[in-house]
Structures are given as C-alpha cells and as structure tokens.
Amino acid sequence: MVSVSEPPSELGLSDDQLLDILYKMMLARATGQRERMLNRMGKAPFAVSGEGHEATQVGTAYALLPGKDWVVPYYRDIGVALVVGQTVRDLMLEFLARGENVSSGGRNMPSHFSDPKLRIVSGSAPVGTQILHAVGTAFASKLRGLDEVSMVWFGDGATSEGDCHEGMNFAGVHKLPVVFVCEHNQYAISVHWTKQMAVENVAVRAEGYGFPGVTVDGNDVLAVYRAAREAVDRARRGEGPTFIEAKTYRLVPHTSDDDDRRYRPREEVEEWSKKDPIRRFQAYLEEHGLLDAKTRDKLAKKAAEEVDAATDYAEKAPPPDPETALRHVFKEEEGE
C-alpha cells in the first residue's frame, strides 16, 4: 500500500488547503452524524452516511477541478459532494426530502447527490451502474477534445457487478480520462470482502484492462490525495484511466436499516476506530505544526454551526407539492 510520510509541502498543497481538507472531512462527519441522529428522532425514514470514509472521499475529490470535472458519486459520498461544492444545506434539504432540494426535489432517497451546475451526476440505487455513466462522460470529453476528467466512486461490493467490468474495459479500450475510485470498506452490507473476491487487492484487475491500478491506505487523506492527483493528471494528459483502491472502513452500520452487530465483531470496529481518518489527519497536521487545539476546536465549532443552520433551514422548508410527483417524466415544454 502506498502511504504518505513526507512533509505536506511535497504534495503542492498550501497550508490553507490542508486545513480546508481537514474541515471538509469534519463537515462530512458532522453532517452524517446529524443525519443519523435525525433519523433516530423519527424525522427521516432513512439515513446513509460515510463516516470513516472521509479521507478517501475528500482526498480523491480534492484532486478535481470543481465545475469542470465530472463527479459520479454513490450513496456514501457526502464528503465528495461537499468538496465539489454542495452545501450542507443542499444535503439537508435532500435528506429531509424537501421540495427545494436540488438533487431530486424529494424524489430520490437521501444521499443520491445530483447537481447539474456542479456536474454531479444524479445517481440511482442499483450498485455499480454509475461506473458506466462516468465512462460515458469521459468518452464525451475525449470525443469533444475537452480536457475534463471524470471521477467515479463505488464500493468493494460494486466491483462484482458486470457493469464495473464493462465500464473498466470500455475505458481501457478508449483510453478515457476517467478515474475509478473503489472505497474498499471490506463489507458489502454484511458480506465480507473475502466472499466478494478472491484477490487481496482488487486494484490488480486494472492490469487486465490495460491501465494502472493502485492500492492506497484509504484512511490517510494525503496518500489518497496523492494517488488521485496522479490519476487525474494522467487522465488530463490523455494517458487514460486509473483505478484507485482505497482501503478503509465504515465506522457505522451500512444504513439506518442495518444492525452491523450481526456481522462485525465489536473488536474489529474498535480497532478501526483507532485508525479514524480525521483524528489521524489532525495528529499529522499537529505534528507538522499546522494545527493546534484552538484551531481544531474552532473548525469543529464551525462545522457544527454549519450543520445546525442547514438543519434549521431544511426543517422549516416545505415538502414538495404532491402534484409535482407527475412532473419531469419527460422534458417539459418551456413555461409548462
């Protein structure tokens, strides 16, 4: 596994950017936690968050040019959505299925991010289908001679789907500017990765499609960022796809419908809590003199306030008008 030990300066990130990365991770965590809390309070029927995946999500998305590059996330990617420009308010409006929400106007389940102006492609629930969409946006970029990059995120379980194979193969044949990010959290709901694949590192499959695959420590945000950066640069240079496997862990159940005590030993969860990517990055920044307790608390407070404000706003926002259920099946005439 690639892991980062060198000083942050080597990565070309400014101190502000490093703190911004930390903040986005904290914000993603706080948002996910709040959503799960609201769910437990009975304010929303469903919640799914990426707690534990923050390094992977923020580290990869941070390598993109927001608004220019194509973002094709899956349901766990609160961190991705925040990095490329969605606000917590956007997410809370979506979470509470308010009419105003930009992702879907209350039609899709929570965490099915969509935002045309940010080039976040609307996602569905069937696992893995979005991989082909990212290959498609990248294909269009190439055909149109645009130096955009497409990035797509999915889980370890998703690698078993036919669409994952077809997408990687298509991307390899056409040498497309697409980065595949596998957030390998070792489980597909209750199914351990050893029942999903017979290889230690699924990134080795990339070779069979004619492009590089790398395995990184998905809880090390700078290692992830470096791998993503290289992949994005490579793609932008026209050298084709890269597959990034980020080994991580979700610290919470699969969704609000799941009880992970059935299948994950508490010791394992404990073990991984110690590797918490946020605490780890904080320690790293402290070590390099870029963060102190005061700043950390300030950031935490800021994140909490942002989440509070967004929650307040969203709770007050009205649900969609029932009749809107009939709209947008097909394109509407102007003025309709």
């Binding site: 039609r107 799941d258 969609p320």
Partner: protein, 327 residues
C-alpha cells in the same frame, strides 16, 4: 397452529423445504447473515453455510449460477435483495431460465425459484419500491407468484420450490409484517396458478393481488358499510399461469369488473386481466372494465407526500368502486 407474519411464513417455507429435501439451498446477497429483511434468518446456522450462500454482489451471477446448479441436481432458491435490482439478471431470467426447457425440447429443466421483495409504500423511493410482475408475467416459461398473505406465502413458496420450472416469487414488502394469520406448522401447499375469492360479493368483481389486496378489502368494507355496494374481491396470487376462470365466473355474476394494481397503469399486468375480461367476458359486462393503478411515473418518489399521491390506496379504490357501481 401459530400466528405468523408473511415474513415468518416465507422463512418457514424455506426452512421446511431445506429440511425436507437436501437438494434445496438458498443463495443471494447477505442471506448468510439472515438477509436484509431477515427472511433467511438462522438457515445458515441450521443447514450450514454451504446451503445458505452469500454470493458476490452480482444479480446476473446469482441467477445464472442458480440455473447451472439446477441442471446438476441442486434446487436453488435465489434471493434478489429488492425486486428493483432484478433488472441486471433480466437476460439470465428471460433468455436462459425461461427457455431452457423449451429450447432443449424438454431435455433440460430449470427448477429454480427467484424470490424478490417488491412493492412500494415503505418510503423506499424509486429504487426500493418497484413492481416487476408485468415484465415477467409476459415471459413464456416463467411462473410468477405475487403473494400478500402469510398462509398463501408459505403454501405457495413451497409449491414454487417444488416446481420443476422457474418461478419468480414476489413478496410484497409492505405486507411482510402487516398482520399475523394462522399458518399451519404442518406441510401444506397452495397450488400455483389458482386464484382465490378473498371476499364474496355480488355487485362488482374486483381483481387484484399483492398489497392492493389489503387495500381493496378495506375499500370493499367501506363501500359495503357506507354505500351498500357488495364487492367480490379476487386475489390472483399467481399471475402466470393466470387463473382466468375464477374472475370470469365472478364477472358473469356481477357484470362489472374493477382491476386494481399498484404498478404503473400503462402496460401493467392488470391490462392483461382487463383485456381478457373485455374479450372473454364481454357478454357479461354491464359497465366499462375499470382499472385503478399508479400513474405513469417511477414508483415511487421518496417524499411521503409524493408517494401517497402516486400509490393507490383504499380511498382511491373506494372512489372507483362507487363510480363503477353507479354506472
């Protein structure tokens, strides 16, 4: 006899069949740990992980491997976690399972059961709410069951597992824990392809299945009480093979037919029921063959207000009954 939910009945049918016949096994995503709905709870512990198999996350493989295994002495009960995720397996189901016997002139058979929880009304949004029976009810070589009650679920799932041909077994999610019903512990089966009159009536024949059975029964009570309209409610239970005699006989008596289904109106399976009545029951008809179903939008949008707007419910059904009765 114990009172069981439909979910427990589904579980028990698998348990019993696995006990009865060592060739039967269960396979699918997360089934080893009991499944996301707990339908396979305890099967792995009782019968071992080799008979309750966690597969990779790949629906085409679940069905395709089940097909192959069924050719070699295994009787697989394949679970698709949600019916919404059956589409990646479409080709294996339609091109392969459904035609294995036909294309080999009876040489090979494919005794698999594909279970899939389906239907809306559970805040599942457009990817955990779909009805898929119309797609498969149209395919020759498949049997398609849509269960809605505990008793029927157990008896029909046993029939499905024992059936020598592929059966798509659809369990309405909202009916899973809706209520309890006496379900015999003893071995019994409910035959595939036989509808049941779930409520006797004389003014209108209401043909339905799945969750809409419960909504329809409720609507029938309401109109009986409030309007004195007597509705005969028929639960198809199986949509393929379709038991048309039962509903045609009823229409002969009532002269009026209302078909209620949860799926989108256009091209839903209720269209077939209505078409049969319009052709074979034409002489009995005293009014238009009426359909109540969801409008043609993805079923269903997530927000409660939207979902309620879209899905048929007892009020919408009662309204349709009144209108038809007044015709």
């Amino acid at each position: 006899m114990a009172e069981k939910t439909m979910l427990e009945a589904v579980h028990d049918a698998m348990f019993d069949e696995m006990k009865r016949d060592p060739r039967v096994l269960v396979m699918g995503e997360d089934v080893g740990g009991g499944g996301v709905f707990r339908a396979t709870q305890g099967l792995s512990e009782e019968f071992g992980p080799d008979r309750c198999i966690d597969t990779p996350l790949a629906e085409s493989a679940i069905v395709g491997v089940a097909i192959g295994a069924s050719l070699n002495g295994i009787i697989p009960v394949a679970e698709i976690q949600f019916a919404d995720f059956i589409h990646p397996a479409m080709d294996q189901i339609v091109s392969e399972a459904a035609r294995m016997r036909y294309r080999s002139n009876g040489g090979w058979g494919c005794p698999i059961t594909i279970r899939a929880p389906y239907g809306g009304g559970i805040h599942g949004g457009p990817y955990h709410s779909q009805s898929v029976e119309a797609i498969y009810g149209h395919v020759p070589g498949l049997k398609v069951v849509c269960v809605a009650t505990p008793y029927d679920a157990k008896g029909l799932l046993k029939s499905a597992i024992r059936d020598p041909d592929p059966v798509i077994f659809l369990e309405h999610k909202r009916a899973y824990r809706l209520y309890r019903q006496d379900v015999p512990e003893d071995d019994y089966t409910v035959p595939i392809g036989v509808a049941e009159v779930k409520r006797k009536g004389k003014d209108i024949t209401l043909v339905t299945y799945g969750m809409m059975l419960h909504h329809s029964l409720q609507a029938a009570e309401t109109v009986q009480a409030e309007d004195g309209v007597s509705v005969e409610v028929i639960d198809l239970r199986t949509i393929s093979p379709l038991d048309k005699q039962t509903f045609l006989k009823s229409v002969e008596k009532t002269g009026k037919a209302l078909v209620v289904y949860e799926d989108n109106l256009t091209g839903g399976f209720g269209a077939e029921v209505a078409a049969i009545i319009a052709q074979e029951g034409f002489e009995f008809l005293d009014g238009p063959v009426t359909r109540i179903a969801s409008p043609d939008v993805p079923i269903s949008p997530y927000a409660s207000v939207l979902e309620e707007f879209v899905l048929p419910n007892p009020e919408k059904i009662a309204k349709a009954i009144r209108e038809l009765a007044a015709y």
